[in-house]
């Protein structure tokens, strides 16, 4: 299969547009790659990336991610009191009277806290603590003024000046000083997702709650148990279901209202902006620049302005999306109008119809499916965008998300809201895709019909 030099040059001569292109065309990919590499080097310096990466705490990532789907309990045992008693932080997931079965009071006066069954536990009294994990037993003496490990120190135990820390992985850790033992035990799942600790239904199984609702004695005064249960769920202090769902609805409303109003305003304007339909070229230019302006004044700027004007809330968000959408939809609508087939229009015009009728019967049937499809697409993308806009105060779930994240402690709540947002985006994507597919089928049928009729 080897070709001679003559054959090669013959092929080259036959296809000059492939083999003898000007130098800038042959080398532009090379320039592009070189330019990109140079730019990346500059960006590396600009963001001082090596410095940032050196100071970053990647060890936090698995910790935060595990907090998305788990919660912990941190009982503390004071050793300097006359009697050792477990103390739970206020608002802990266990409620007012915690008596968990993994905190065991032994007959000889010592306490055993099982962090992961027998295998990972700590047993202690006022003079010494014994930490068990990974098949090893670590005795800690508490009598010498500071905690001291007697014997070899395994690598999962860290001895500080006044504290011994035993890390047991995902399930938790034990911190021992001379005057207290602090345990962190981690549970998979979301604590008190349905009823919070103040609710009379707290700690009851689904069956018990159901029987209370159906036939139990009244727990609250003046309300039925069903109402009480619904109220307790809706106003769950830890998960704030009511607030989260309301904010989620606000986000949906913002996207819907903003896109719809934008479409309504952009629709007539697009006819005046389309070059082939407008009565005046100047008007077309003015409108097109107006659309560019509305688009270029970013959604953020509109959001900040309207938040100041109307106060924070979904009204500001809707208005921001509305103003941006006038620009975006106006531009896409007028471009769709400029690309129409002129023949139906001329046909209607030739029957002597007036301007409005020409648009109605010569233009609209062709563009309405395109308009609706583009509006649906914008609606879909605004549903996503409304989440971010919310974070600057324009209403919706964005602000709630941002506030929950700022404290770095409520990642389970963040994940709950993220799941809801994902669900909403998924549902709306599918609705919009379904509608657009149906529309494109209508459009397809229409085109085929026209083709069949010649």
């Amino acid at each position: 299969m080897a070709m001679t030099a003559d054959e090669i040059s013959a092929i080259e001569d036959r296809h000059p547009q492939i083999f003898q292109r000007p130098a800038y065309k042959r080398f532009w990919p090379l320039f592009l790659i070189a330019g990109t590499v140079l730019y990346l080097a500059y960006a590396l310096w600009f963001f001082s990336l090596p410095q940032v990466l050196k100071e970053s705490h990647w060890e936090r990532l698995p910790l935060f991610l595990s907090q998305w789907i788990s919660y912990d309990l941190q009982p503390e045992f004071r050793l300097d009191q006359p009697q050792i008693m477990p103390k739970y932080p206020r608002f802990a997931a266990l409620g007012e009277n915690p008596n968990p079965n993994w905190v065991i009071r032994n007959p000889d006066g010592t306490y055993t806290v099982q962090i992961d069954g027998e295998a990972k536990s700590v047993t202690f009294d006022k003079t010494r603590a014994t930490i068990v994990a990974n098949g090893q037993t670590v005795p800690v003496s508490l009598t010498g003024g500071k905690p001291e490990v007697t014997g070899p120190v395994p690598d999962w135990v860290t001895v500080h000046n006044d504290e011994v820390v035993a890390r047991m992985g995902f399930v938790g850790e034990v911190r021992v000083t001379v005057d207290r033992v602090k345990v962190r035990k981690r549970f998979l799942g979301w604590a008190n997702f349905v009823f919070d600790t103040r609710s009379p239904f707290f700690g009851k199984s689904a069956g018990e709650v159901l029987s209370l609702i159906v036939s139990g004695p009244r727990l609250g005064s003046g309300t039925s148990n069903l109402e009480l249960a619904a109220d307790n769920i809706w106003n769950n202090a830890q998960w704030q279901h009511g607030d989260v769902w309301t904010k989620l609805l606000q986000t949906i409303v913002m996207a819907f209202l903003g896109t719809l109003l934008g479409g309504i305003v952009a629709f007539p304007l697009a006819f005046f902006a389309a070059r082939n339909i407008t009565p005046s070229g100047l008007l077309s230019q003015v409108l097109k620049r107006f659309f560019d302006f509305m688009r270029s004044v970013d959604m953020l700027i509109w959001a900040l302005f309207f938040t100041r004007a109307f106060g924070p809330g979904p009204l500001a968000g809707s208005a921001a999306i509305f103003f941006t959408e006038i620009g975006t939809l106006g531009k896409t609508y007028s471009e769709a109008l400029e690309n129409i087939d002129d023949k139906p229009r001329e046909g209607v015009l030739s029957t002597g119809a007036n301007g409005l009728l020409v648009q109605r019967y010569g233009v609209l049937p062709e563009v309405v499916p395109i308009f609706i499809s583009q509006t649906l697409y914008q609606w879909e993308s605004n549903t996503r965008g409304a989440t971010i806009i919310g974070a600057v105060g324009a209403g919706g779930i964005g602000l709630k998300l941002w506030e929950a994240m700022r404290t770095n402690s409520n990642w389970a709540n963040v994940f709950y809201m993220v799941l809801l947002t994902l669900l909403v985006v998924f549902v709306f994507d599918n609705i919009s895709n379904f509608l657009r597919r149906r529309l494109s089928r209508t459009l397809h049928d229409y085109n085929r019909l026209q083709a069949a009729q010649g």
Partner: protein, 318 residues
Amino acid sequence: MTASATIHSEATRQQADAWRRQTSLRRCYTALGVGLLLVAMCATMWFADEANAGHFFDRLPHILDFLSWLVPKDWNDVWRALFDIASPHDKGTQEFNFPLGRVYIWGGFYIPEYFELMLTTVNVALVSTFIGFVFAVPFSFIAARNLTPSPILRLIVKRFMELLRAFPEIVIAGLFAAIVSIGPVAAIIAIGLHSIGALGKLFYEINENVDMRPEEGLRAVGANWIERVRFADLPQVLPNFMSYTLLRIEINVRISTIMGAVGGGGIGEELKLSISRGFGAKTLALVLLLFTTIFLVDQFSAWLRRKLVREQAFLMSA
């Protein structure tokens, strides 16, 4: 009329009736749809108004008051704010402390603060688009039905990209803000991850529409998957990829501005501060700069895209 009616056969009349029935039914449906949409619009308007801190009709008379703080006492302050030139109105407050933000390069030469911030925002957008492009290209070839090396891999990659696309950016930004410190790097990661999903989807849809003949030719001479993708498919789709990437840059500049306002660094943060404190001249300077930049980026990208499309038309005709 009567003459034509007699000529028309029974069948034609039935056809005409059926047509009329169908159109009236369609009109009914359209009216119903529009009616439902109007009801939904009014209901959501009411809901949005109820949930807002200030109500629409209460606030409407005050809109002009609100706009009045925007008008600076001295219009020259807008330029001074933009270029960090000392203002004669400076009384030590934050409203007119323009020269304080200067970023000195060497000697007396400085970049005005707002230009530096704008540069940060644009750089965030560019780097994150680059990240998106680099990952989206290989993913898109795996996710395209006609090119995928393995259907299971295709499903995984597709779902992964869907997740990246739908995941709220501020959550990724917030998560990474806690890891790499708050600022532009967290914003880059968040926008970059989102861009992978967004570009990947557009790219694989292009890939599914490629002409398969070059691919079959290469398959016939025994090329492996990477060679086939590189020499048969990439040349066909690259102009379209570039075009969508340019569009993505436009979108990412906007997102990175918003990210700035929630702590991602850059011009968004400054704008938010300046609007919330009512600094008229500073706000106008920032809006002017932001508007001009976005406008220029849009125009430049549109110009490049037009050029790319023409280039592709040339290649296809050749």
